[in-house]
Amino acid sequence: MPTFYGTEFASRLMLGTAQYPSPAILADAFRRSGAGIATVSVRREADGGEAGQQFWSLIEGLGVALLPNTAGCHSVREAVTTAQMARELFGTPWIKLEVIGHADTLQPDPFGLVEAARILTEDGFQVFPYCTEDLVLCDRLLNAGCEVLMPWGAPIGTGLGLNNIYGLRSLRAHFAEVPLVIDAGLGLPSQAAHAMELGFDAVLLNTAVAKAGDPAAMAEAFAGAVSAGALAHQADPMPPRDMAAPSTPVLGKAFLE
């Protein structure tokens, strides 16, 4: 099972906490997903601290590890300060580091990401970088101190699945010992199963579950898909081939012409 910075988890699902129809549905989705990690954020407080306290009570009740993010940060400074505030609020050195480089695609800024990862690692953080599948970028992130990589499958919130299978397979092959998590872009359980079949360690979901007609049911569907995909990877799938090959023995077939 996946191990992140020395902590092993019984589930290969990480689940976001945003966009659910209600807190009760969020809690139900977590229960049925079996996810061991919840992503959270920090945002401006506007009403005397009530909203933050209510959300804090809700996520405390989930009984899962918390992974704060730096969502929406477009600069290194902004991401580092947000991470520092998140560490104090949530009491964890874990940070899902996002340094957004493009407003339309929400594509990571690879240069800022590496710089922020280095600053935060030196400051004692354990960084989960939201990155692309670029091998050079991922190598630099590991050199900066990251012990987990979280490449996107597709842009955040699109549900397009795994856009670059070759790149993701290549990443898995090059960094065989590094925990790899597909962080964004999944929309269907079949896509999560595919990620597991490719040998990824976990997937991080939010929109695919929260925006489903029945979020809790979709959470359970993803849990099943991830388990199936991981088992398939362990079972060593057959290599694909172009030519047909009969599965039923040819020898012994009756001649009936």
């Binding site: 401006r44 933050g52 804090w56 300060t81 520092q84 991080l204 929109t207």
Partner: protein, 65 residues
């Protein structure tokens, strides 16, 4: 004293960051703070004297993906 609090210009009494939290009803609340884009740990709020024009951010736990 005029400062910018969470993006909005405000006239506050101050003088410290801790005083500001009290003034805005957030003393003891689960919040984190930054002044002029620099994180201010909870233990340093009482010693941080705000200056006119400072940009203060007060944030709390929220939903995230």
């Amino acid at each position: 004293m005029n400062i910018t609090l969470n993006g909005t210009l405000q006239d506050i009494a101050g003088p410290t960051l801790e005083d500001l939290l009290r003034e805005t009803g957030q003393a003891g609340a689960k919040v984190a703070t930054a002044v002029n884009e620099t994180f201010v740990p909870a233990g340093q709020r009482a010693d941080l004297v705000l200056q006119p024009g400072d940009r203060v951010e007060i944030v709390a736990p929220r939903q995230g993906g």
